[in-house]
Amino acid sequence: MIKTYSISTTINEKEYKSEVESRLLLSDFLRHELGLTGTHVGCEHGVCGACTILVNGESMRSCLMFAVQADGLEITTVEALGKDKDDLHPLQQSFWEAHGLQCGFCTPGILMTLIPFLRENPDPTEKEIRAAISGNLCRCTGYQHIVDAVLLAAEKMK
């Protein structure tokens, strides 16, 4: 019998009670146990940033945490932002307008990296933006339109 652990986690302001195996990665838990598939997995060794989520408000790699560690913590994923095209978060809206995504696979991780960044840096320079997302690999955009999108979002969120 595989031992499981009871955890209670607040995800996107909703409480979840689950039984998890100790080794279950938080990324797999969110995606495959809870069906929150907006968080993506690209490398499972903490480099690509696609799985970035917020843990108690700070951006972290969900592939480098175990689900069991999330017990009692507050998790925020991309699903907590705007849910449809008429109700987008200003950051999402800016990514849309500035063409800040192509395949869109790395995008949720980038958005979740930027939410706390913009909270702490409401008026960022291009250089600061580039440093902030340097832990998120994007293979499609060359980053330029992402940077434009963040500058636009900062403007919108003023």
Binding site: I2, K3, Y5, E21, S22, R23, L25, D28, E44, H45, G46, G49, T52, V55, E58, S59, M60, R61, C63, L64, M65, F66, V68, Q69, D71, T113, F117, A131, A132, S134, G135
Partner: protein, 294 residues
């Protein structure tokens, strides 16, 4: 890339951690920030029978000053080192170096204690411990002991901690008056493990002569490498180009033993060590009070 199974414990006090550590011995690994451990588990390079998660041990997470020293709990996150004003006040060299560690998301989770105990020769924090004359507090259920940073690292990914001991606190003295500092590294991309890096400290007297110097290197051997002879060669000297270049040449040619990797040959690493030392010493001397003579 899924980790092998393990038994999981999540104590919320230091005492519980210590008794679990004694109980499980070699079978147990501590899970601090997990930013190096979990990737290794995902690759199944590390398969630990037992994990003791110390993220809930709040008594290990602090940055405090007292009259003489700065005290940092082993579970202080790298992010807190980056932004806590106490760090900049007491040991600005550390504040300068921390942003070189990986990326913001990693620093949000990674801990000072985890990085030190991991003892990766290419990591920044072990080098800084030597450069800053840190003392490291180890504890087991029998008691505690203080280990100077110079005695803490014991080769590749190895420390002098006993199996049942854990690192609980890092004690850092003030960087002395009239001392300049600099941290420089060269990485292929920002956030990568550096090909070479150096932490430099120089103290100057009122006449501008060097009273004290320190040069510690990362990725330059099987642990942080303290280039004592090169540093000593600076003492008593006025820091000019010739003196600095001599020390840089000595450290890079005689005192470090870089192994090379797929990104850099040992020769290039030595070359980088020389260049970075020259630059770091100039920067440190200037910070020490315009102590660099062209």
């Amino acid at each position: 890339m899924k980790p092998a199974p393990f038994e999981y414990h999540v104590p919320d006090s230091l005492n519980q951690v210590l008794s679990l550590k004694r109980e499980h011995g070699e079978d147990a690994k501590l899970l601090a920030g997990g930013q190096s451990l979990v990737p290794a588990m995902n690759f199944r390079v590390i398969q630990s029978k037992v994990l003791i998660d110390i993220n809930r041990v709040e008594e290990l997470s602090y940055i405090n000053e007292d009259r003489k020293v700065l005290r940092i709990g082993a579970m202080a996150r790298e992010r807190h080192l980056e932004f806590d004003p106490l760090i900049d006040k007491w040991t600005p060299l550390l504040a300068e170096a921390v942003p070189f560690i990986a990326h913001p998301q990693i620093r949000n989770r990674g801990t000072i204690g985890g990085s030190i105990v991991n003892a990766d020769p290419a990591a920044e924090l072990p080098v800084l411990m030597l450069a800053l004359d840190a003392r490291l507090k180890a504890q087991n259920s029998d008691g505690e002991r203080w280990i100077p940073a110079t005695d803490f690292f014991d080769g590749m990914f190895t420390t002098t901690l006993a199996t049942d001991e854990i690192l609980v606190e890092i004690e850092l003295p003030h960087i002395p008056q009239n001392t300049g500092w600099s941290f420089m590294e060269m990485a292929p991309r920002a956030g990568d493990y550096a090909l070479m890096g150096v932490a430099a400290l120089v103290g100057l007297d009122e006449a501008g002569k060097c009273t004290r110097a320190k040069l510690v290197y990362l990725n330059a051997g099987d642990g942080p490498v303290d280039a004592k002879a090169a540093a000593k060669s600076l003492v008593g000297e006025t820091l000019n180009k010739k003196v600095i270049n001599h020390a840089a040449a000595h450290a890079s040619e005689k005192e470090i033993t870089p192994f090379g990797n797929i990104h850099a040959s040992p020769e290039f690493q030595r070359h980088l060590a020389k260049i970075l030392t020259q630059r770091a010493l100039v920067a440190a001397a200037i910070r020490a009070g315009e102590g660099y003579i062209q």
